[in-house]
């Protein structure tokens, strides 16, 4: 498989501030890559570098095997969709869609054909002669996606395209984007801070922090085997419970409980006898009868119950801290009651205290 986009040793600094540090990413043809991170991690900056809207300080960008590091954005074979839609307000939808093609001196009947095709794909035909001001948020974003599609490019760049929409519309457009990718099979690079968007859309997720990639892998792998404490804490909602303790041999000890971790799948660097973080996701803590057969079981007092409809989040006082437990359905639990809990060693996550790397 050929690489559609390659980023080699990319550096970007604004004055003394280093925003991107020695980034290397290979993105395969037709891949849907999501750049995920909290704000200020450099994910949008990286996207702007790929688009050619920011000049890189060092390193190279290849698109379709061509070195485009010095190329203008319009010469790179990319289409871009922005968070604020960025539609040209004084042009009609048709004008917005054809602006790029006119600049590229595409013949008129060809423009007509392409606009018609894209309008059909995105179901915006009735809107073609309206101005952006007369469209709803969802329609505007659809037009913005259309403006990228109409250019017939190899790579699509999305800069938080759904963040300005309300929750329901966001879900709808998310599914539509996924369908679109399935149909077009173009390479897509998608920036977001929303982990649900990342998990649902991506072939691979790149989690970034401080201008560096923490982990670049399939969503399932990132969820099941986060490579360090930051990723573990970042992915998953509600967030993972973390306990500070000590690992000696196959036994983890902390203030409040001891657990045998021989069922844990250690990675390549098993360092026994050291201070570690132990993590367990709220949905992997079992309650009630199921707890009896788990590697570890114990009991704790319920602090707060948050029913969410399809599931219930229970906050318990355990091992001296507030621990999140997720239970199926409406549990009928009350605060103040005692709750039996348990978890399996295979569902645990262990991170070195100093390096915060997964053991």
């Amino acid at each position: 498989m050929t690489n559609s986009v390659e980023i080699k040793d990319l550096d970007l600094s604004f004055g003394a501030v280093q925003v991107l540090k020695q980034l290397n990413i290979d993105i395969a043809e037709g891949e849907f890559l999501v750049l995920l991170g909290s704000s200020g991690c450099g994910k949008s900056t990286l996207l702007n570098c790929i688009a050619g809207l920011l000049e890189v300080t060092d390193g190279q960008v290849f698109i379709k095997g061509q070195n485009v590091t010095w190329a203008e954005p319009s010469e790179r074979g990319i289409g871009m969709v922005f968070q604020s839609y960025a539609l040209y307000p004084q042009m009609t939808v048709r004008g917005n869609l054809s602006f790029g093609l006119k600049n590229a001196k595409v013949p008129k009947d060809e423009i007509q054909k392409r606009v018609a095709r894209v309008a059909e794909v995105l179901q915006i035909e009735p809107l073609l002669d309206r101005k952006p001001g007369a469209l709803s948020g969802g329609q505007r974003q659809r037009v913005a996606i259309g403006r990228a599609l109409v250019r017939d490019v190899d790579v699509f760049l999305f800069d938080e395209p759904l963040s300005n929409l309300d929750a329901k519309l966001r879900t709808d457009l998310r599914v539509e984007l996924k369908r679109l990718h399935k149909k077009l099979k173009n390479t897509m690079i998608y920036v977001t801070h929303d982990q649900v968007e990342a998990m649902t859309l991506a072939d691979r997720i790149s989690i970034m922090k401080d201008g560096m990639i923490q982990q670049l892998d399939a969503p399932e792998v990132i969820y099941a085997k986060p490579c360090n404490k930051y990723v573990a804490d970042f992915i998953g909602s509600p967030a993972m419970n973390l306990f500070e303790g000590h690992l000696s041999g196959n036994t983890f000890t902390c203030d409040g409980f001891t657990v045998d971790v021989s069922g844990y799948e250690f990675g390549s660097q098993p360092r026994r006898d050291s201070a570690v973080w132990l993590g367990i996701r709220p949905e992997h803590i079992v309650t009630g009868d199921a707890a009896a057969s788990a590697t570890f079981n114990g009991s704790a007092e319920i602090d707060i119950v948050e029913p969410m409809g399809s599931d219930t989040l229970v906050w318990i006082d355990f091992a001296g801290q507030s621990v999140r437990v997720r239970t199926e359905g409406q549990s009928g639990l009350r605060s103040g009651e005692a709750l039996t809990i348990g978890f399996d060693a295979s569902r645990l996550h262990l991170f070195d205290m100093k390096t915060e790397i997964r053991l």
């Binding site: 688009a51 319009s74 871009m80 307000p89 004084q90 602006f99 790029g100 600049n103």
Partner: protein, 301 residues
């Protein structure tokens, strides 16, 4: 229980009634009336006086309406009043002012809008320094630059000509207009500019097709600022032109301040009103647009 529900429906409900003659209202409207009288009274006196004949003015009733309305002072001010050896009234000054105004406005606004666009969207190395220097220019008193400009204009052969004055007005309008346009274009979302670049538009295409159509309100503001500023200018007009090319304001001064002969108050008033007519019309015609544009240019910067 039943009693309670009756009571609750009889209580206050809907908007609270307001007294139209409250103390606050009287104070507010009273102040507004006094202030507007203060500003409008001189204008009233001017209009009334300009419609009176000289014998009536000599009777001394300044505030009284004209007993016999005459438009002769207006005609005289426009086409017969003497300044020095020329006796063709303000009409020549009006023509000169128009010839100065139109090219100055077009030139200064065209250059300043491109300046502002470049400074906010196409930042280059040193663009901030350049902008700062330009803004400092707005704070230097004009008087300190009067004589150097005389020399400059003389050297390039434009001293005393309308072209020279147009150049001076264009240059002096640059700092404030550039600031105005830069702030306006800075408030246009950056993503719009990025989208246009991805769409392959260059410097001029983005300016003419994306930015210009969005900038109408700020253009109106710039035009108003420049029309009133240039039309009302006296200092540059009196220094950089000669009698044949005097703008209207300078000519007005020469008519009103002439020390020979009798003071024709009615002609003076009519001449002043004629001179002030252009800015007045501009303000009346564009009131709402002006306020909107000023707000748009000022909020984000």
């Amino acid at each position: 229980m039943a009693d309670l529900s009756v009571n609750s429906s009889a209580g206050p409900r809907g908007p609270k009634p307001k007294k139209s003659f409250s103390r606050a209202n009287i104070f507010l409207y009273g102040t507004l009336i006094v202030v507007s009288m203060y500003y409008l009274l001189p204008l009233y006196v001017m209009v009334v006086t300009s419609l009176k004949g000289m014998p009536e003015i000599r009777m001394g009733n300044v505030f009284g309406p004209p007993m016999e309305i005459t438009f002769e002072p207006w005609v005289k001010a426009w086409s017969e009043a003497c300044t020095g050896i020329n006796c063709d009234g303000l009409s020549r000054g009006f023509g000169n002012s128009i010839q100065i105004l139109i090219p100055s406005i077009i030139l200064s606004i065209a250059i300043a809008s491109i300046n502002g666009y470049a400074l906010s969207n196409w930042k280059f190395k040193g663009s901030e320094v350049f902008f700062t220097i330009l803004i400092i220019g707005a704070f230097i008193p004009y008087q300190t630059m009067l004589y150097p400009i005389v020399i400059l204009l003389r050297e390039i052969g434009l001293m005393g000509s309308i072209g020279g004055l147009v150049l001076v007005h264009t240059v002096f309008g640059m700092p404030i207009l550039t600031l105005l346009f830069r702030n306006y274009f800075a408030s246009v979302p950056e993503e719009l500019f990025k989208a246009a670049r991805v769409d392959g538009a260059g410097f001029w295409q983005i300016y003419f097709q994306i930015m210009l159509p969005m900038a109408l309100p700020i253009f109106v503001v710039a035009i108003i600022l420049q029309v009133t500023g240039i039309w009302n200018d006296f200092l540059f007009g009196v220094i950089y032109t000669k009698p044949a090319t005097y703008p209207m304001t300078v000519q007005l001064n020469n008519i009103v301040n002439s020390v020979q002969g009798i003071k024709e108050y009615n002609v003076n008033m009519a001449a002043t009103l004629l001179t002030g007519l252009v800015p007045l019309v501009i303000y009346f015609a564009s009131g709402k647009l002006f306020v909107r544009g000023i707000a748009a240019g000022a909020v984000k910067g």
